[in-house]
Symmetry: C2
Subunit: 285 residues, 2 copies
């Protein structure tokens, strides 16, 4: 038997951005993204085969070409620089990330010292930072221990990376409330990450699964987190990028009676379906 | 030897209000407060002997008379009602409490759902509530467990009673951050309460005190808290309202070599000095 995680694969923001890239490829000669549009090599290959070009930085994109800003977003100066050079910009920043960017702009404009909770090397954080009035003054904390290092101020705004855990935002808020007369917290956490994690937990707890096939890019951090959850529940996991990788590990599948399927937020539906169909055909489910 | 707690007696806001009452008594025929101006019977008696009259409610105060709003503050409608009746109002609300009232007015006016952390029966809380756009919609929580019961909203403002502990505000903030997209926290906690508590702790830890004479009204909640701290440090405490009560318990003092003196935020300096002088004279310190 095959059981699917309730929430698996593309989140709303990623699906929206990928759909826009496909649509743009139908109508434009040259379509670019800055950096990989998504942490999934199979999906990137599919889009590149349709004509997508991936630039390392905004300077590589020729004037007159079309660029789609990926779901992670970009700093404001990058978007302004592109427009100034006559590049056609279509902003597919995830609306949840956009909200965080807008709050950074609004609150820094009102004189709040902006603190971001998240990973300082993540493009989403660099993008949010790049929407504050003075990006260089924005501070990033990874957790409550780093929050202890924030200097006391009259007004502090705390904004979260959309994929953070609410427990951590809660703990950081508890620290910063002592460091400001006015603390404005924007709970910009999106439910998609938690939903996928809870779905995987429910998948292995509510069904008597002998193992879970987890589908996602090997460099996808959110897929890695799903693997950790499955292992912590004492269930066997096989992490594959596609059905070919599953085929190469076919021994794993042989003795499994009930197989769960889960997928990260960057895994496209067509890949999930391919893997599912492969299992069904192989086992005669 | 006598050792004094570093911070003891009147806090800034109480001293300011009492000084204003004394000043008003010099120049006015009738001076009123609504409720006791301070939780200290000796100080209230002294002010009443100078001519102060204490009303149970604003309706008792005659038109043309002068009323001083005590440090705790009053709801806006009470002040407006008094002014409409031609009562002369001198607002001696503690500036820290005033800040909390202003924030309740401002944030409720901007559409925030106002949540207060504190004691719902305390006049300070009723006063802050009475400055919100719609006082009946304001919710009061005593701690993080009550905060769990707050319904999810788009925008919540959390404002603290000035005498709350920061640890508790921190824990309540950690709960409410999950219940609002935008949580605005006003850390309106005044240092006076914590300073008096820390001073008492330092008094018994840093000095080899054989016992502490604690001076304060028996109905003063903050004095009661100081007693609890002294007991929890394993030190003997004698809680007296004045030197007469100390005299009645003179046995307690006999064997003490090093005596600490502490006092609540509602204890006037003259009472502290009287008790101190009594001990010094008795023991020949």
């Amino acid at each position: 038997m095959i059981v699917m995680a309730e929430h698996a694969g593309f989140c709303f923001g990623v699906k929206r951005a990928v759909d826009a890239i496909e649509e743009a490829l139908k109508h434009n000669h040259e379509v670019w993204t800055i950096g990989l549009p998504i942490h999934n090599p199979q999906e990137v290959s599919r889009l590149e085969a349709m004509g997508l070009r991936v630039a390392d930085n905004d300077g590589m994109i020729p004037s007159g070409a079309k660029v789609l800003i990926r779901a992670h977003g970009e700093p404001l100066e990058v978007i302004e620089r592109l427009k100034a050079r006559g590049v056609q910009v279509e902003d597919m920043t995830c609306p949840f990330v956009h909200k965080a960017q807008d709050m950074a702009a609004e609150l820094s404009g009102k004189g709040y010292h902006v603190v971001l909770l998240g990973d300082r090397n993540h493009p989403e954080i660099r993008g949010i930072m790049g929407h504050a009035a003075k990006p260089s003054e924005v501070e990033v904390v990874a957790d409550e221990h780093e929050a202890e290092g924030i200097t006391r101020r009259n007004r502090i705004a705390l904004i979260s990376q959309t994929t953070q855990r609410e427990e951590r935002l809660s703990r950081v808020a508890g620290i910063l409330v002592r460091k400001a007369s006015q603390l404005h917290i924007c709970n910009t956490i999106c439910k998609a990450t938690a939903e996928r994690q809870e779905s995987v937990r429910a998948l292995v707890r509510d069904n008597n699964t002998d193992g879970v096939v987890l589908i996602g890019g090997k460099s996808s951090a959110n897929t890695g987190k799903l693997r950790d959850i499955i292992i912590s529940e004492g269930v066997n996991v096989l992490w594959v990028e596609d059905e070919k990788e599953l085929e190469a590990n076919i021994e794993w599948l042989k003795d499994k009676k009930t197989v769960g399927i889960a997928a990260g937020a960057s895994t496209p539906e067509w890949l999930i379906i391919k893997v599912r169909n492969y299992i069904a055909a192989y086992r005669g489910f």
